[in-house]
Amino acid sequence: MNMRSQFVATVENLLHKDSQLVLLLGDIGVWGFRNAFTQFPQRVFNIGILEQATVSVAAGLAKTGLIPVVHTIAPFLVERAFEQLKDDFGYQQLGGNFVGVGASYDYASLGGTHHCPADVGVLKNIPGMEIVVPGTAAEFDKLFRQAYNNGHPTYFRLSERANLQDNLTKLGRAKLIKRGSKATIIAVGPMLAKVLEASEGLDVSILYYSTVYPFDSSLIRTNCSSGKILLCEPYYEGVLANDIYQACSPQQLIIDSLGVPHHFLTNYGSVEEQDQHIGWTVPNIKRRLKKLISI
């Protein structure tokens, strides 16, 4: 099951269990949620293609004690409705769930208007916003069930790509995948699969983060004796760099950052072609890692 199908299954299940849950779809996922529409017509809405009002409406629902889940394509949810997320949920300290599809260039062939590599970097500017980047469908299921009714606004970044194995953790906790001495790799969400392949045979630590915020600073602080870090993020590169510096302070660090480069991707094609274009390949990760170790 992919993450999007898991999202449908998880939310359908929770709609049965929790009468406070309300789903607002931005005219996507309507077919996927067809059973939910039939079973819960009072709590499942195809609200339309108007993301700014939708996020504020969700805040109004939260004000009455309900738990909103808003689902649409990432750039429209995060970038168009950013101020609504900031003021109506962040500033008012309301709980809500925002589930985006189209992570980075998952919609590669649709072009730059449908790309959203800025989502995590943008949302981290909202104090109290939780950001979850699951690496597999099962991880999404577990993290969503933990977070959906915890009274905080939470962004779930669904991705078309996934890791081969589940690494289940609690919300806000990262996981030590492998212990080594020459360098430390931080892999966020679905970056882990390529990181594992690229680091085979190398004496490095691998830390896996499926929750970006709140950031688990203790795991990196206790697993970075080399002072050399390769940060692998599936969105604009370097978002976590300052969090890492602060977590490890006063230790001196060398951080190399792999992620989506900070320029517009103007080509189309497939996700794999975009990966090749920006250097998200196993050989390139291995090359960068060896270079870091050799410093």
Binding site: V22, Q42, G65
Partner: protein
């Protein structure tokens, strides 16, 4: 908690509102800032709403069965503060702290600080969609309370307002009333034209009233509709009741100096 006394209610309504206007002007003068004309524009509407229409209890501001009022044009906060303090949600003495560092009363209302404030507003175009969400939520919960929201005409430039108007009509939110404070202050930027026709064409039931006539306000706010949200277009005067400020854009966000303060206060006797 409250320093409200019933003495004010022995005065005529006109006198009571003048007292609140003096309170507003004094607060703005002390703070050195404040949107006085915006507050004066809506004060009659809020007075009728809180004195004769809304089911709210200052002793239990979070009662789930209360009616809700959202001030979407948050810059008119001084008007809301005057009404809320007069109802006993918080002491009038708080006005002395308006906009100070540790005050709960800022330039825009904060629902996490002020009893009786339903939503933190200030950025225009947020309050009405939140009110729509509240109305939808109350319907889902089977709660028969009503939601009232006041927007400014300038605020009606925002796309999110019209998005909300669409959503409210589609979901037949007859527990929602939107009051437009139509003081024409932003006609200089965009002409809204026939606002009644616009709301009607979006599927709302709409009435146009004099926003300073209490009987018209009351009749409009008590109106019930069937499966349609309700819009009250209130023709108002920005700075109403003070000739120095009425429809004068220079006063939009300004505190009076000593001379102006004296003149304003004399007009509010």
């Amino acid at each position: 908690m409250s320093d409200r006394t019933d003495a004010i209610y022995k005065l005529s309504t006109d006198q009571q509102i003048k007292i609140l206007k003096r309170l507003i002007v004094q607060a703005a003068k002390t703070a050195g800032e404040g949107h006085i004309p915006s507050a004066f524009s809506i004060l009659d509407i809020l007075w009728v709403l809180y004195e004769r229409v809304l089911k709210v209890d200052p002793k239990h501001p979070d009662n789930p069965n209360r009616d809700r009022f959202v001030l979407s044009k948050g810059q008119a906060s001084l008007g809301l503060y005057a009404i809320l303090s007069n109802k006993g949600f918080f002491p009038k003495s708080y006005f002395k702290t308006y906009s100070q560092f540790s005050s709960i009363l800022g330039g825009h209302p904060d629902s996490n600080k002020i009893p009786g404030v339903e939503a933190s507003t200030g950025s225009l175009g947020h309050g009405l969609p939140m009110a729509v969400g509240m109305a939808l939520g109350l319907k889902i919960l089977g709660n028969r309370s009503k939601v009232f929201c006041l927007v400014g005409d300038g605020e009606c430039n925002e796309g999110s307002i019209w998005e909300s108007i669409l959503i409210a009509a589609h979901h037949q939110l007859d527990n929602l009333a939107c009051i437009v404070d139509y003081n024409h202050s932003t006609d200089r930027a965009l002409q809204l034209g026939n606002l009644k026709q616009k709301f009607n064409s979006f599927g709302w039931e709409t009435v146009r009233i004099n926003g300073h006539n209490h009987q018209e306000i009351y009749q409009a706010l008590k109106q019930k509709t069937d499966k349609k949200p309700y819009c009250v277009i209130a023709q108002t005067i920005k700075g109403y009741g003070c000739k120095l400020m009425e429809n004068n854009p220079a006063w939009h966000h300004k505190a009076p100096n000593e001379e102006e303060f004296k003149e304003i206060m004399e007009q509010l006797v």
